[in-house]
Amino acid sequence: MNPTVARLTLRGLLGRRRGILLLVVPALLLLVSAIASGTEGSEHTLATRILGQLDLGTLVPILGLVVGTGVIATEIDDGSIVYLLAKPLPRWRIVTTKLAVAIGTTWVLAGIPTLLCGLLLIGREDGIALGYTVAALASGAAYSALFLLLGVVTRHAVVAGLGYALIWEALIGNYVSGARTLSIQQWGRAVAETVSGADLSAEVSVGVAATLLLTVTVAAAVLASVKLAGLTLAAEE
């Protein structure tokens, strides 16, 4: 960790319009949960739908995308990354610091609202609120790392990230069972199922899910460090 890199990253992330956008995501989840908690029907079904589909399936990946790309892709795009890179600072330290900021932000903005929504919708019943909170933390970390990597390897990180989250996970994952094995969302669901003990229709075992979540997070950080060390600034001529 480098405190200066962390400070610059956090200010860049929470400043500007992105800061507002980041607050909209948990606010939306809380609003939907507040409205839904007043409706009649099975609390269990309602909670798993909102926390499983809206939260874990949509809002956590979007949050991971905005935060993961926001901690580095913007600086690469506008060229200000040069002030970090033109320093005698190991690239892996820059990446791990930025990843720590991304994961921390995702945890605060996804973990806490998930827990609050879970408690609001179903209370402590079946451990569902805790299960989905741990799932949001685990998958939030993996999304942050994956999208940070995309921010380093491509100038179109947001489009690529949306492609993964919306097309691969949400669309293809709905129809092709094999695709669900390679889905951070499904790995998160396996974690939620294990922590809560409830049946949440997870497609992979928790062992596989935890291993893959950890592998993706670590591998993305390593790859991003390697890529950042060889980052090329294209000549503008």
Partner: protein, 305 residues
């Protein structure tokens, strides 16, 4: 004393060759990297600053490879062309962050010194996003100088600056050059290079077109026509005597200037011919001045060559 060595370096992007087999050495003092837009100057500076790998050849700083070697940044200060510089930070926060990133023992003192050096202490508490182009350039300079580097690389530093800011920056760079630092700046504006650097490296279409003192560069090109403005005690008689020699290809009597405009084909031949002819004819020379000594004429020749 730090020296950047560029040894047979080429860089291509797909089928486009941006830098073509260039070798040069950048030593202490101020060096101007001159060339039109698209000549490959930025590509070369990116390679010198470790942000682009050469496709072939090597770029080294005192023998150490620059590409993928972050330790060289202890010696290099970089002023990039792009303006983005964490617009949400104040000038002070920006320079301080750079000092901290260098791991300096007293980052606050280093940041203060750097801001004083570029005379930006008065605006240090304003956000950099509110700075004028010249102010941004100076704060970028402060960030590059905060660790007291031996090498300063500046990519088109005068772009968009007004004349006053330009003069200030030139004075600053002159001081660094005089201190024995290795200062390299790129420019496509001939006057800028002419005013600041005696030593220039000229790039044209990715190639190293010329190197050395800008006056000497032209003199080395002996086959290039040179123009002179000459005033004497008898211009007509002097013209007649000169045209008889093969060193001159054209002489015009400029009535308005009351002078001769002479085009010489052989620089060395003409410089020995003129005083000899004048002495033999008993003509006094009042003025002998090169009419195209500016870099512009050198440059346009190089470009068209």
């Amino acid at each position: 004393m730090a020296t950047i060595t560029i040894d047979k370096v080429s860089r291509w992007f797909g089928n486009v060759v941006a830098v073509n087999d260039i070798s040069m050495t950048i030593g202490p003092g101020i060096t101007g990297l001159l060339g039109p837009n698209g000549a490959g100057k930025s590509t070369l500076i990116h390679m010198m600053s470790g942000f682009l790998a050469p496709s072939s050849g090597a770029v080294t700083l005192d023998g150490a490879q620059i590409w993928r070697n972050q330790e060289v940044y202890r010696q290099i200060g970089l002023v990039p062309e792009r303006e983005s510089m964490y617009d949400y930070l104040t000038g002070w926060e920006f320079v301080l962050a750079n000092a901290e990133l260098h791991g300096l023992p007293h980052p606050g003192a280093a940041a203060r010194r750097a801001l004083d050096l570029v005379e930006m202490a008065y605006a240090k508490d304003r956000r950099t996003g509110t700075y004028s182009k010249g102010m941004k350039q100076r704060v970028k300079m402060a960030s590059a100088l905060v660790h007291d580097p031996a090498v300063l690389l500046l990519d088109e530093p005068f772009n968009g600056m007004d004349p006053r800011q330009r003069i200030q920056l030139m004075e600053l760079l002159r001081r660094f050059g005089a201190d024995g630092r290795t200062v390299l700046f790129s420019s496509h504006i001939l006057e800028e290079v002419e005013q600041l650097a005696r030593h220039i490296e000229v790039m044209v279409a990715g190639r190293h077109a010329a190197s050395g003192d800008f006056r000497r560069i032209r003199r080395l090109m002996t086959d290039r026509p040179h123009r002179y403005l000459v005033r004497s005690s008898d211009d007509r008689r002097l013209a007649a005597a000169l045209i008889a020699d093969g060193s001159t290809s054209g002489i015009e009597l400029d009535a308005r200037e009351q002078a001769l405009r002479i085009q010489a084909v052989n620089f060395q031949g003409f410089t020995t011919l003129l005083p000899r002819v004048a002495r033999d004819a008993g003509i006094r020379l009042y003025t002998v001045s090169p009419a195209d000594e500016s870099l512009e004429s050198v440059f346009s020749y190089l470009v068209s060559a």
